[in-house]
């Protein structure tokens, strides 16, 4: 226990602490942060028929190093109404779907949080279970239900309520329905987590002070669950904006969503620079929602 040994140990321990921090930090920097830099770089280059299909930004000549930065991809996005419509359509559909999720999910989360203790775990598992199965298959389920000779139309025809099938597949309605269905558990989970922490005596205090239950909800419960509402909404809204599978399977020719457009630019047109520019603009649009989510999440982690 003499001083030299402990000092040696400390010197040996200090850098190790650094290593423990470095491992996750380096992994995420390399495979999460750095890729965005590359996307940005490629979005500033020109498409070319080559492998990989874009021109180099930095040209190392015999004596000079020239930097060719091109904003043409971004200008192209602005000029073509298809892209603007796709961004606008994505935001609109994601917004409506998020709102619908909130309106359905909030009462569900509220009922779960107020349920008897031994029921809560069962209800939570019931809500989360679908999200553990398969996203793709849950979207696929609606194809059989919504199509012209699907379950709903067949039932309605058989009941004689309609003469010809209602077109539900390949519409924006189907896309919104699909998003609500797929993302509902992610709305309920943070809301439930927030509402269970709500102190029941607060509600009792409010009613003791003469507040009616709906008023109590508006003045006490709702403001206190703001964090859960933000987290749940962002968990639905942000991925929904970039959604590809749902518009591809349930949407129609009128459904233009940016995730689908990006996919097609990349895989069908093999225009990597335009796809990169599309991703950068989408990221810029989502920066505020992502920051909002991050702020909520880090506050949650601090508590």
């Amino acid at each position: 226990m003499s001083a030299p040994i402990s000092q040696r140990l400390q010197r040996w321990f200090r850098p190790r602490r650094g290593w423990v921090i470095a491992v996750p930090l380096l992994w995420l920097t390399l495979f999460f942060l750095l890729p965005f830099g590359i996307v940005l770089k490629i979005s500033l280059s020109e498409a070319a028929i080559a492998i990989p299909p874009y021109s180099a930004i930095v040209n190392v000549g015999a004596e000079t190093v020239s930097l060719v930065v091109s904003f043409s991809n971004y200008l192209f996005l602005m000029s073509d109404s298809l892209y603007v419509a796709a961004y606008w359509g994505s935001l609109k559909i994601a917004f409506v779907a998020t709102l619908a999720c909130l309106l359905i999910g909030y009462p569900m989360a509220y009922a779960m949080a107020r349920a008897p203790a031994h029921w809560q775990l069962v209800l939570l598992l019931l809500v989360m279970l679908p999200s553990w199965t398969s996203f793709l298959i849950r979207v696929y389920a609606w194809m059989g239900i919504l199509s012209n000779n699907g379950l709903i139309n067949n039932t309605l025809l058989w009941l004689g309520l309609i003469d010809s099938p209602i077109r539900m597949m390949n519409t924006n309605f189907a896309v919104i329905l699909g998003i609500v269905y797929a993302y509902l558990p992610f709305m309920i989970l943070p809301l439930y987590a927030n509402l269970t922490r709500l102190d029941g005596s607060l509600l009792e205090a409010a009613s003791d002070l003469g507040s009616r239950s709906f008023n109590t909800f508006l003045k006490v419960t709702l403001p206190l669950s703001k964090g859960g509402i933000i987290a749940g909404s962002m968990l639905v809204f942000i991925p929904a904006v970039g959604e590809y599978v749902i518009p591809e399977l349930l949407g129609g020719p009128n459904t233009v969503m940016i995730g689908k457009v990006l996919w097609e630019e990349f895989f069908n047109n093999r225009d990597w620079p335009v796809a990169s520019a599309l991703a950068m603009v989408m990221l810029a649009l989502l920066l505020i929602p992502i920051a909002l989510f991050h702020r909520y999440q880090s506050r949650e982690l601090k508590e």
Binding site: M1, S2, A3, S6, Q7, L9, Q10, F13
Partner: protein, 398 residues
Amino acid sequence: MTQPMTLTNPSTDIRHQLPAEQEMSSTTGKKSSRVQKETLMEIRRVSKRFDEALAVDDVSLTIRRGEIFALLGGSGSGKSTLLRMLAGFEKPCEGQILLEGKDISRTPPYERAINMMFQSYALFPHMTVAENIAFGLKQDKLPKAEIRERVAEMLKLVHMEGFAKRKPHQLSGGQRQRVALARSLAKRPSLLLLDEPMGALDKKLRTEMQLEVVEILERVGVTCIMVTHDQEEAMTMADRVAIMSDGWIVQVGSPVDVYESPANRMVAEFVGTVNLFAGEIVMDEADCCVIDSPELGRRIRIDHGISTPADERGVWVAVRPEKTLLSLEQPKGDFNWAAGTVEDIAYLGGLSVYYVRTEQGHLVKVSLANTTRRSERPGWDDEVYIHWDERSAVVLRD
């Protein structure tokens, strides 16, 4: 086997308002017989800063081998930070901590011969009672047989022989504390730290365990530093008490010292309750001094001189409630009394506390031991006199 703690009275929470002088001096007298003069730990001018906030400010202390030492203070007084520095969880910004003459201020916790019992007990939930106690011994790579023997010995010490196979969540609060104590004693540390040892127990169990823990510590003969915010606990368990406030050590002394001769007004108010009268010294001689107190409406006489500098005349006179007397007739003499009315009476079983409003509007607490059943006593709104002996009061500064 010395068992001095039978003198505590568990039924009252205002133990120190009892006429306790004699009991306490005998208590500490017996305990100090095992305390040796030899120094075990020396804390030299230790300071700790957290983001510019000074948690511990230039603290120096000497701990003697074999004693039970209590750090007493309110929350934020720096007592826990000081304890964590002794354990090695915090490193002092300045100063040194010496254990048996060696500087350990930079030694990591796992290399110190110091063990700690945590406020939450920190029993490992995935291990049985026996595994918990054996944990520290396994770190020292002791032979299996010796570990088994030592664990059995520890279980016996804390009267938990039948619980070796239990998991912590199958134990009650008091049992958990015994296991935590056994675990921290198993390595035979040269110093034991107790962080709010009774903090997680309810009141009744607390008094019971205070006695039992002291008994175990004395049997083992380990030196012990405890941290507590409960003055009663500190005075029941410790040989010496240090009062901490704002990172400073305000006073160090035996329980009798800090109760009967508090160093300043803060100590007097923190340890027990006290009646304070502001006043100004008008006469100060070798064998007595006189203080003029408008708050009392009368002069106060004290039976000893206090040799104050001429420019610091303003002082506080402190009288404990149990040393303040109540009478229906006007006391003789011109000093140390006031007339008033009984405003409230709190009957606490063993004693009653009278709240007397003096003519000057000052509220004075007087406690009377209920030595007879339903005797004639002053009642509400009675006209009474409060007074005290000139040996009972203490002169204090801020």
